[in-house]
């Protein structure tokens, strides 16, 4: 079976590239071993939150200096305009999440431990958590939900360094005992999908909210009917309400995946989840096919172009063995950003930056993997997202930003340079 483009990896980077290409009538296959970080992470798009210890107010302004001081960074290959475009594009493509924000200013949203965290683009269900203008915040704990502790959050947030005064408090609710006492956050999200559960919440909070308070809930406000759940609560509480992201799994992240997957299917792409992918044949410096390692036998898929969006160590796109050698798991590409042989990979202190933190695949301006000498490995292979070398995204707060922007840019690079799309009669 032949495609225009095969995308390996179903995280934000792979889904973005695939949807952009499908929109342009390319025949696309997304194939992945499993779900990506969408199911673990909040759907906030952090483009750049910190440069060193400096909190960034405007990624737009900070980026040009940042790429100069971080030469191998993925953002060195995507202009600020492209990043800005990718944010707009995502907002339009998944209206279900009601994304708000722009590249020129960061929101400041509370994390579950009460630290203000900068994000460029956030779903509407989180917007009211913005701390920049200060105000009064009340956080709602739900007994039985072990991943959200409103009192700890409120206590820390009251001490945070913020541009304006913030006051915090919390309310603990004891929702009626569910038959399953350890449902986890996705279980709670399903309960919020039910109108009766929301009735109970609204009643329990009746008379308890103070004027002008913004109400912070754990990010479990529905999963299938999320928009409706959040709007319903805001309307009935008559207070702005917002979600605070929790430990994995991430109910709002799953909403993003669902929205992107829906859009992809509508655009005619095929999504295969559950197959590990290994390199197939190559011809004349081009990848010809990949192999899906299904239970029964490997299945070969052919395409004109390929996108590697397998994430880094966290997703199995990279692996380090016990002897210290690192491997890119699909094509065995050269891995950049590793310490020299014999040098330690990790510092003995956790919060140091570690030598392997920036490891990944290095690419050229068209996001094609290159070797140590900067030579393109395969003419028609591109890479996007957390597999790219040069970033420490969990410290920079740039994870989803890198994946969205490079996923978006990789599609443009393919559209611009790859062979014209395969003819319709070649479709199966």
């Amino acid at each position: 079976m032949t495609y225009d483009v095969i995308v390996v990896g179903a995280g934000l980077a792979g889904l973005t590239a695939a949807l952009r290409l499908s929109e342009q009538d390319r025949r696309v296959l997304v194939i992945a071993k499993g779900n990506g970080a969408t199911h673990l992470a909040p759907p906030v798009i952090d483009v750049l939150g910190y440069a060193g210890d400096k909190r960034i107010e405007s990624p737009q302004k900070a980026l040009s200096g940042f790429v100069v001081s971080h030469p191998g960074h993925p953002y060195a290959n995507v202009s600020a305009d492209v990043i800005a475009e990718s944010l707009d594009w995502l907002s339009r493509r998944v209206p279900e999440l009601g994304y708000q924000g722009r590249l020129d200013e960061n929101w400041l949203l509370p994390t579950a431990v009460g630290v203000p965290k900068p994000s460029a683009l956030v779903p509407e269900s989180m917007v009211a958590g913005d701390l920049r203008r200060g105000g009064r915040f009340v956080f709602i704990g739900l007994r039985g939900l072990k991943d959200f502790h409103a009192s700890y959050l409120a206590d820390n947030l009251a001490r945070a360094q913020l541009p304006a005064r913030v006051s915090t408090r919390f309310i603990e609710l004891e929702p009626p005992h569910d038959r399953n006492a350890d449902p986890g956050s996705v279980g709670f999200a399903r309960r919020f999908d039910e109108p009766r559960f929301r009735d109970w919440i609204v009643q329990a909070l009746a008379g308890q909210l103070e004027p002008n308070e913004k109400v912070g809930f754990p990010a479990v406000l529905g999963i299938e009917k999320a928009g409706e759940v959040w709007r319903d609560l805001e309307r009935r509480l008559e207070h702005p309400a917002f979600e605070v992201p929790l430990l994995p799994p991430s109910a709002p992240g799953i909403r993003l995946y669902d929205a992107l997957a829906r859009a992809l299917r509508q655009a005619g792409a095929r999504i295969l989840i559950g197959d590990r992918v290994a390199a197939g044949g190559s011809e004349g410096g081009r990848v010809a096919e990949i192999n899906a390692l299904t239970a029964a036998r490997p299945v070969a898929y052919r395409a004109n172009s390929f996108v590697l969006a397998t994430g880094g160590f966290a997703s199995g796109g990279l692996e380090l063995d016990s002897r210290g050698s690192v491997r890119e798991t699909v094509f065995g590409l050269p891995v950049a950003g590793m310490p020299d042989a014999g040098e330690p990979m990790f510092s003995p202190r956790y919060f140091d930056t570690h030598a392997v933190s920036r490891a990944g695949v290095a690419v050229d301006a068209r996001l094609r993997p290159v070797d140590e000498k900067g030579k393109v490995v395969f003419e028609n292979l591109h890479a996007a997202g957390a597999i790219l070398s040069g970033a420490v995204p969990w410290r920079e707060h740039s994870g989803n930003g890198i994946s969205l922007a490079t996923g978006y840019a990789v599609a443009a690079a393919i559209l611009e340079h790859a062979a014209p799309r395969i003819r319709v009669d070649a479709r199966d």
């Binding site: 009460g114 991943d147 820390n156 430990l247 199995g316 202190r349 969990w394």
Partner: protein
């Protein structure tokens, strides 16, 4: 400075000191146990977890073997709840001298260690991951022993007999007057307050630190600290304690412990007993030795590594001075006879397996110093928690939870710790340290190494103990640093992947680096 009075002051909250405290309290002495950190946070909490059958010493050190098997059988009776009866097997691998098997058999028979040669086929059926090239196999009554349970139940028993305990109290100095130790000055390491203790007899059970304590009374006790490294793997790759059948060496034992198995160990001379560094070379060596027992060991997932320091005693006194060197395996020093300093006894060396016996001889020496005769009963009386007489069964926590699967939240999924377990531990320990709670409940010791439970535990500590934000945040950050010590030496494969997820959780999702301090 506040002051306290006691008959017996015991220094060191490891297996030895907690055993001494229990024994002394049971013999009717008023007893105070002091420990500079948490209970079992010295060598006892960083050992290999093996209740020796004596097989390991049967050829090289027969008196030690005799002592081990004797104590092994006693502990099975008095402390079964601390023991998982895994059994043990000694195997001759292709790297070992086949002739040693006969010496081993003879050694076990001479020392009374129950041993049976079993067929290679049966052994491989029992332990399918074992190297298929093994030539001979011998079973012995090795077992796994839980150091935290052991120390805690000894201390609980001591407390039931009236003993007191001060953890996080460091001995700063000993009061010596007229050739006798009169007591000690302690410092509460958390508040900085000092406490003066007056005691009839001071028992130095400070393990590898015993030399430091002895020097406070002007006695020279030379300890050669020997560091050993262990690595816990994610699965029970083996169900029985696996030993190489050869003279004791490095990396030649794998002990199944709960859902993990632990390979060890090494012996490197260090100067400072507080050393805990683990080198790449040591890890590599251990993994290579692991391959010889269990092929594919390097592909298995390592969870955590740690190092403990052996208290190896070297007598520097001339031979003719009576030191009451009871066996070669441990050292009991009556400083009245040895150094002319009364009211002072040192008990060090040995093994956790023989802790009870070490405690017995130490308290015998206390009785002698005080000129009284009171018999020891620790070989007969069961420890709290062991009343039913049943050994620990793998899956006990799951078993307890299964009938009520919906009853409450599980805070640590890896080790099946529920919210009420945690609330009770917080109340009982009166501590702000997650690491202290870990030693009680094992939270954070499974595959995710605390990725999910640390946040929950911190928040519950904050709520239950009404902690201020700074203390709570300190507990969280401290635990992250502490666990990193055991993680960074073995980060590869799936454990690196897990750690990257934890990086995302703590630094990305929560951003704990910017917590208010």
């Amino acid at each position: 400075m506040s002051s306290l009075q006691t008959d017996v002051l015991v220094i060191g909250g490891g297996s030895t000191g907690s055993g001494v405290a229990r024994d002394a309290a049971m013999r009717g002495f008023s007893t105070l146990l002091v420990e500079r950190r948490d209970l079992a946070d010295g060598t006892t909490g960083r050992f290999h977890g093996l209740l020796h059958s004596g097989g390991r010493y049967a050829v090289k050190d027969p008196p030690a073997a005799i002592e081990c098997i004797k104590e092994n059988l006693i502990l099975r009776k008095v402390a079964p709840d601390c023991i998982e009866d895994t059994g043990g097997v000694f195997v001759v691998t292709p790297w070992d001298d086949p002739a040693f098997g006969d010496r081993f058999l003879a050694g076990c028979k001479n020392t009374g260690v129950p041993v049976h040669e079993v067929s290679v086929g049966d052994t491989l059926r029992r332990e399918p991951r074992l190297h298929p090239g093994i030539k001979r196999a011998f079973t012995v009554p090795d077992a796994a022993i839980d150091p935290w349970k052991l120390v805690w139940s000894n201390v609980r028993s001591a407390q039931e007999h009236g003993a007191r305990m001060l953890t996080y109290h460091r001995v700063l100095s000993l009061d010596v007057d007229g050739g006798k130790v009169m007591g000690a000055v302690l410092q509460d390491v958390r508040s900085g307050d000092e406490v003066r203790v007056r005691a009839e007899v001071v028992v130095n059970a400070a393990g590898a630190w015993a030399g430091q304590i002895a020097s406070m009374a002007g006695c020279e006790v030379q300890i050669l600290p020997g560091k050993g490294v262990m690595i816990a793997m994610n699965h029970r790759l083996v169900q029985t304690v696996l030993n190489r059948c050869k003279l004791p060496g490095d990396g030649d034992i794998i002990v199944p412990i709960r859902t993990t198995c632990v390979i060890g160990t090494t012996d490197v001379h260090v100067t400072d007993p507080d050393t805990s560094e683990i080198t790449k070379h040591e890890v590599d060596f251990m993994l290579d030795e692991g391959e010889k027992l269990v092929p594919g060991f390097r592909q298995a997932r390592a969870l955590h590594a740690w190092a403990g320091v052996r208290p190896l005693f070297q007598e520097t006194r001339a031979k003719d001075i009576e030191t009451r060197d009871v066996t070669r395996s441990h050292a009991l020093l009556d400083h009245k006879k040895r150094d002319g300093v009364g009211g002072f006894v040192t008990i060090t060396g040995g093994k956790t397996t023989t802790y009870r016996f070490m405690a017995e001889v130490a308290v015998d020496a206390v009785c002698e110093q005080l000129g009284v005769q009171r018999p020891c009963s620790t070989a007969k009386e069961r420890l709290p928690g062991s009343e039913r007489g049943a050994t620990y069964q793998l899956g006990a926590r799951l078993g307890a939870r299964e009938p009520l699967p919906q009853s409450e939240e599980i805070i640590c999924e890896c080790e099946l710790v529920t919210r009420s377990h945690l609330d009770a531990a917080i109340a009982r320990r009166e501590t702000d340290s997650i690491d202290d709670i870990r030693r009680l409940l094992r939270i954070g010791m499974g595959p995710c190494q605390g990725g999910f439970c640390i946040y929950r535990a911190t928040a519950l500590l904050h709520a239950d103990r009404h902690l201020d934000y700074a203390t709570a945040n300190h507990s969280l950050l401290d635990f992250l640093e502490e666990r990193w010590k055991g993680l960074h030496p073995i980060l590869y494969g799936d454990q690196l992947r897990q750690t990257r997820l934890d990086d995302w959780i703590f630094q990305g999702l929560f951003d704990v680096r910017h917590l208010p301090r």
